[in-house]
């Protein structure tokens, strides 16, 4: 399974948020640091 490499460009992606707005990782470039949290489920 591929994994993200440290100190390399993070793979860009597009998903729709739960409010229906498209979110591109690249939208944040130059704007904010990001903490991406890959959740295992709401429990």
């Amino acid at each position: 399974m591929p994994k993200v490499s440290l100190n390399a460009p993070a793979p860009d992606f597009t998903l729709t948020d739960f409010k229906g707005q498209p979110v591109h990782l690249s939208d944040f470039k130059g704007q904010a640091n990001l903490l991406l949290v890959f959740n295992r489920g709401f429990v």
């Binding site: 399974m1 591929p2 994994k3 993200v4 490499s5 440290l6 100190n7 390399a8 460009p9 993070a10 793979p11 860009d12 992606f13 998903l15 729709t16 948020d17 739960f18 409010k19 229906g20 979110v23 990782l25 690249s26 944040f28 470039k29 130059g30 704007q31 904010a32 640091n33 990001l34 903490l35 991406l36 949290v37 890959f38 959740n39 295992r40 489920g41 709401f42």
Partner: protein, 109 residues
């Protein structure tokens, strides 16, 4: 998630946005966000496309996906990658803050 919520202002002060990506659908995200009053961006990924792209591990014996965290700096570079090996294998916020402080420090300063 509760710890991230509790310390959210600390993330904001470090110019960091929190994005939660999970396998549930939009309705489950909306319900959870409303219930917990979360300020984060919530991205449902029921097809697990990004979860797979980022290599989130599935542990069949422990019945689910393991938690993972990635810090991406403003240049789009992955500066911290952590793949959990158990449900509770999540870095402390203090560790994340230290990394963000390092990222926010101009080179050569």
């Amino acid at each position: 998630m509760a710890q991230l919520r509790h310390d959210y202002s600390e993330f904001v002060s470090r110019h960091a946005q929190i994005i939660i990506i999970g396998p549930e659908d939009a309705a489950a995200f909306a319900s959870y966000w409303q219930q917990h009053d979360l300020p984060f961006i919530g991205l449902p990924d029921p097809k697990a496309s990004v979860l797979k792209l980022y290599g989130q591990e599935v542990n069949l014996f422990k019945l689910g996906r393991m938690p993972a965290q990635v810090i991406v700096d403003r240049a789009g570079i992955a500066r911290f990658v952590h793949y959990g090996h158990s449900m509770s294998d999540i870095p402390a916020n203090t560790e994340v803050f230290a990394l963000l402080d390092e990222i926010n420090t101009p080179t050569g300063a």
